[in-house]
Symmetry: C2
Subunit: 430 residues, 2 copies
């Protein structure tokens, strides 16, 4: 087999065999196939696409390039969720304890944030003492004992994806739906869960811009999951505004705790309880999806979800936050409306960038995060606004400069006519 | 400027500016842009194409990556020709002396053969003593003195094309018409001629398989030439059989000499005199194309073209061949027809491969050529064949094995119905 023949085959729109895909991925990971051939192949895939069979074969080849987490020592049905990345997305902090409180087993490997999107690990680390570098033994024991653990990925999981993603990032080959699907699914499958819920976000602040793309990505990921005998459900969700009100590490932890206490914002509660209902149902902890959703709502309202969160944070070494002193910044700047009307859109990208510029996110991998800063939205889509109303509070430890203000200014789109509240979950694909 | 943005721009089908194209080519030649970004860019060009303006800008950027031959010290109008590569293509050996005998100035840089196509330099070097490594001074003086010189390219001409071609070869990005056009034209323009005739071959033994592709390639090359103020004419010519009868280095030199003596095969004479007429006319040595063609035919028949060939070979140190002893091989194997009928096709690719397998061509750059061996066709398309007729003589210095015979067997396609002789020149584009 020669790599140039495989490139040409894909370039001409033909299907690649399992052997050909294995040849590429193994050869690349072993350093036998150079970057310049792989990047040409990736660009050919961008244009010619991949069938579901090819996507599954690519996922399998990537999965087998590294270690797989063996969750067989954990009793019961293991559930996992993945978000394609959003702004204000603290769902893992809520869903994890919530479904664990309902009896599902949550053994979750998570990532850090980069750019305008936050990462679950950064949010956990904003809690004093909270460790995310668990050993495999600690990780498995904790799930067996309390039903939930969240840790950082080790270096050995899906090395092919790390290599490919780094190459795609600099060769204009990121936005290929089968490549995105294989990248996500290889990591999810390596993490070993039985039930996987995928939160595919669309809109300005998300990677997928159209419902058609999101549908196709969802469909391929469900198909890949099926070919591995996993139960996969994809939720296409709205990112035309940030999720909930809080953006920034401690601000989001606080909002997660409020949500776990039954006091969460409507969109966030709806998203979490809907995804939770699938995880609970497929983990066989409720007889129907409806019963599972009712169970989730009950746990949010009766304190059991919050108790599970406290147990989880304590188990990972974290000191439970006293919310009244949890967030302390030099300035809380009220960002006010200059125009009256109704909120039509809140560009999640701009809000994410604002948080990053305040120090709450990383521009490069080396940046150190300020856990205190961020944005707390006071108005969401559909709400009425008068001139001078506070649209958002900016939590800052440095003066709020004109760059930040203009980024925020561009985030809010206010119109004169009435606007409906958007649905948070647009479609469910399984 | 960032390379990844330029890749994405082309990927999305947008036009690249002159500055962007210069950025890529300069950056690549200077080692600032890595192979893996350039190969992704080339694949994006394969799919999205390039406008004539982009192709001209790419040609200019490549041209300016290296030295240009300064032919200003040569008086008169300099003419050049280029063939996209064929089997049995000895036109340079004929056209050069022919148009020089008609008063045009031929300052030609030529290449070696690889694979199933032969190279002019290999054919010249098959003549004892003939040098092709002329210094620039020798080259220019010789053209001024006798009107013709043919030499090998130096290492400094269009280094960007060398780099890009090597990368395209291993990344499945060779067959992109704007890339082929820019590659050919950058080298032709660097060689400094005023009048350029391009022989674009189509058919089984050629790089272009369809008349549409050949037309598009011709159109772009003429357009690029125009943007540099050059007179460019493209001839789309047939390669459904080898050109003339002889394939192999000395066999082709001998056929060239016969043609220059007025005894050439019909297709070869027609091709050479038609292209010559354009070179002679645009070099202002004849008042019309018709007069130029008549002049060319006259020089073939009155001995002046042959005399110029002898002058040319002598000037480059070659000993004029005595044709009766010029080709001496261990075996001349008659390859005979097993079927009666009419010759419908003679696959040029197979004949070229046969010559290569006999030792007449290179499989790799390091192979040493046997100048004596090759194939001498006895029948061409349209000719009647009886069982046992010799279709071709195989000139061999090693036993003619079954591999060679089966390659030849597959070359000849004989049918029962009468077949017309094909036209050699299909279209002329200028």
């Amino acid at each position: 087999m020669r790599m140039v023949d495989i490139i040409e085959k894909k370039r001409e729109g033909h299907f690649l065999s399992v052997e050909e895909i294995n040849f590429v991925i193994q050869g690349y990971v072993q350093g036998k196939i150079p970057d310049y051939q792989v990047s040409a192949w990736l660009m050919a895939i961008f244009f010619q696409g991949m069938t579901d069979q090819e996507s599954a074969a690519l996922t399998k080849a990537m999965l087998e390039s590294g270690d797989k987490i063996d969750l067989s020592k954990i009793s019961g049905i293991k559930v996992d969720k993945h978000s394609t990345g959003g702004v204000g997305d603290k769902t893992t902090l809520i869903l994890g304890p919530l479904v664990a409180a309902c009896g599902a087993k949550v053994a979750k490997l998570s990532g850090r944030g980069l750019g305008h999107t936050g990462g679950t690990l950064d949010k956990l680390e904003s809690i004093d003492g909270c460790r995310i570098n668990l050993t495999e033994e600690e990780f498995i024991n904790q799930v067996n004992q309390i039903g939930i653990a969240v840790a950082g990925q080790t270096g050995e999981i899906v090395p092919a994806d790390k290599l490919l993603y780094a190459l795609r990032d600099v060769t204009g080959t990121v936005p290929s739906i089968p490549l995105i699907a294989s990248s996500i699914m290889s990591k999810k499958l390596a993490s070993g869960a039985d039930v996987i819920c995928l939160d595919v976000k669309i809109g300005d602040g998300a990677f997928m811009k159209t419902i058609e793309d999101a549908r196709e990505l969802s469909r391929i990921m469900v198909s890949i999951g099926e070919s591995f005998g996993k139960n996969v459900t994809a939720f296409i969700t709205d990112m035309d505004q940030p999720l909930g009100h809080a953006i920034g590490n401690r601000l989001e932890v606080k909002e997660a705790i409020e949500t776990l206490s039954g006091n969460g914002p409507e969109d966030l509660v709806e998203l979490c309880t809907d995804i939770a209902s699938h995880m609970i149902y497929y983990a066989k902890q409720a007889p129907t999806l409806e019963a599972a959703k009712a169970m989730a709502l009950e746990k949010l309202n009766n304190g059991e979800a919050l108790a599970k969160f406290n147990e989880f944070i304590t188990a990972q070494g974290g000191a439970l936050p006293e919310l009244s002193h949890f967030i302390e910044v030099k300035e809380i700047y009220p960002f006010k409306a200059k125009k009256a009307g109704f909120v039509k859109q809140i560009k999640a990208l701009n809000i994410g960038l604002t948080s990053m510029k305040l120090g709450g996110g990383r521009e490069t991998k080396e940046d150190v995060i300020d856990p205190m800063v961020g944005v707390l939205l006071q108005k969401k889509i559909g709400e009425k606004v008068s001139i001078g109303d506070t649209l958002a509070f900016v939590y800052a430890n440095h003066p709020v400069d004109s760059d930040i203000l203009s980024t925020l200014e561009d985030a809010f789109f206010i119109v004169e006519y009435q606007v409906d509240k958007p649905k948070i979950i647009l479609e469910v694909i399984s």
